[in-house]
């Protein structure tokens, strides 16, 4: 086995095991040894993340494993991102920046945390604003970071109106076309998402990541328009 292949395997293992320090150090080692950053991304980081996603889906892994992998990926991505940014053609990418939050009045965060962890694990740069976040604050952060996606969660029926308020406010500000808005939560149905003019929703965290990627691809293929 070549040195590069050995390193990629060890990075991948660190990602699957959620070992943050190992993931970061091994990624630095691989870069220093001249391993292509794109190979690190695809063959170690994304490949490891895919395995963790599959283990989570099958019930072998639980939320802590997902969070640890998210953290390990973040550490490794901090090493390879600056290199990749210099050469990446964003028009073919299907990841980007996501601002995510549970909306005002709602304090449930497990689903939102799962989506944030999986988005991170899939290469998104995620800013998680937490729970009970006023919609103005969510929009301001998305503007500041020039986010691609705003992801909002509401578990409670009585918090769902704030999802619509966010989209209405973006409209009123003339900013609606700038962001992909995804909504989610136990009571949010596809019909509700269409009703409030959100761009997408998903029944679970894995599908939310697929939907975010699909929407980003569609937007970029459409020259930046939703």
């Amino acid at each position: 086995m070549s040195e590069a292949a050995g390193l990629l395997g060890r990075i991948r293992k660190a990602i699957v095991e959620g070992a943050s320090t190992d993931a970061e150090q091994l990624t630095q080692e691989a870069v220093a040894a001249g391993v292509d950053a794109l190979d690190i991304l695809n063959d170690a980081l994304m490949s490891g993340a895919d395995e963790v996603g599959a283990k989570f889906e099958s019930g072998e892994y639980f939320l802590p494993e997902l969070m640890l992998t998210g953290r390990a990926l973040k550490a490794a991505m901090a090493v390879v991102s600056p290199i990749l940014e210099q050469r990446t053609d964003r028009s073919t990418e299907d990841t980007g920046k996501a601002v995510i939050a549970t909306v005002k009045s709602d304090i449930h965060d497990i689903g939102k945390n799962m989506v944030a962890s999986l988005l991170t694990a899939s290469g998104f740069e995620v800013t998680d604003l937490g729970v009970d976040v006023p919609i103005k604050e969510i929009i301001a952060k998305a503007q500041e970071l020039d986010a691609d996606v705003i992801g909002c969660s509401a578990l409670l029926t009585t918090s769902m109106p704030f999802l619509r308020d966010l989209i209405d406010l973006l409209d009123a500000m003339g900013e609606r076309d700038r962001f992909i808005v995804m909504v989610g939560g136990a009571s949010v149905t596809p019909e509700y998402a269409v009703h409030i003019k959100a761009d997408g929703t998903a029944p679970n965290a894995m599908d939310a990541v697929k939907e975010a990627r699909r929407l980003i691809r569609a937007k970029r293929e459409n020259g930046g328009n939703r």
Partner: protein, 457 residues
Amino acid sequence: MHAYQEILERAGTGKYCTEEDWDLEKVAMTTRRIVEEYSLSWDPDQVVPNDPAVADAVFEAGLQLVRELGAYSRTTERIIDFEAGELEAGISAVPQELTMGEGPDARTLYSRTIMDERPPLVWAGNPGAPTPERLFLPIVKSWMQEPIVDLVTCGSLSEVDGREVRTGDPTEIIATRRELRYMREGLASVGRPGMGMLGAQSSVSELGDLAVAHPDYLRQSDAHLVPMLNELKMDHRNMSKAVNSIEYGMRNASLACVIVGGLGGDAPGCAVVNVASFILANLTCLADYHICHPIDMRHVATSTRRVLWVQGVVEQAFARNAPCIIVSDIYPKSGAMTRELLYETAANAIAITVSGGHLEGCGSADGLLPNGTGLEARFMGEVGHAVTNQQLSLGEANTLVLALLDKYEHLFDRPQGNPGVAFDLAYDMEELVPVPAWQQMYEEVKAEVRELGLAAL
């Protein structure tokens, strides 16, 4: 100074910790280590736990988790520490009996034992299920009128006077007061005005809760929710609810909705977190009794193997080590007019009753829709009573529950769930009785469960 002010003080001055570190480094990692230390595991074919040593180990592990971690204030991002003596005092002080309601309709909750010969109390309702105003009164009356029902609760009003209700908004006050008025009206109309209730379900923030602390709405002999947040957390909203009971005196129902598959990991870790939540809730929620409602991270329902096991082992852990009143929620995947709703309800009711819990439900259709009726609440109570009449053992209960799982477990692979129909399609709205097809389904499933081995049903 009331002792609770000391807890508030600690929430303001305790050690700072980010929420991410609390979740991952403290709760998840400590639970993982403790589960290994105590060698805790579970068997998916033993959904009704039947090993006293496991129940004891889960209790000790939960107590160790609280001693090591304390609680977390999400509002202040600080850790609320407790001395071991304070935790033990909280365990000793929790009521063993609690009278709910008034006059001839009053009932006394009591701490149950494993395989208790006394029947569980039957607390009927779909706690927190979003309910449109036009259906609210007929739905709650459908279980208030059932003779087997001892206590009642309800869903949350999702709209009032045609306007949507928003949490933390003046509409929450209107909704919570309206809910209590309907509950009073419903109980009076079925001739049981003194029946105790768990109310203020329309109050997610503290606003509605504060607005109904009055004898015309929520009496001192009624209960309201004081939840712990996932996991082992409080915030000032919920601490305000606890404080709202001081001097006024309504019953505090601590609620732990531990996510099974969440920060605690697999079932054993989540049972440990659930035990820890209840021990903390004696102090942080001023708990008079505990509501046990683990949530399956993938399937929500309480009828999955993992949740059945967690509920059972937590009830048994407390029954053996720190007796207290535990009321366990039944939230089936299925909704009205489905056979599976009745199978799921039976499975949960059997497992809870033999393990030492009282019964609360049903939050049919995952509690997401107004697709619950009084009929499954009746069935829940009948199953619970049959379990004690028949003196079912833990082993016999397990065999029965496994047979029931065979009849509904396939549902968990259905992306669309099994929501059934709304209340007004399952009940005759004039007579307030089940429509013939729903009644027939109930009779058939009841006979089936009897055949499976619950002969006293």
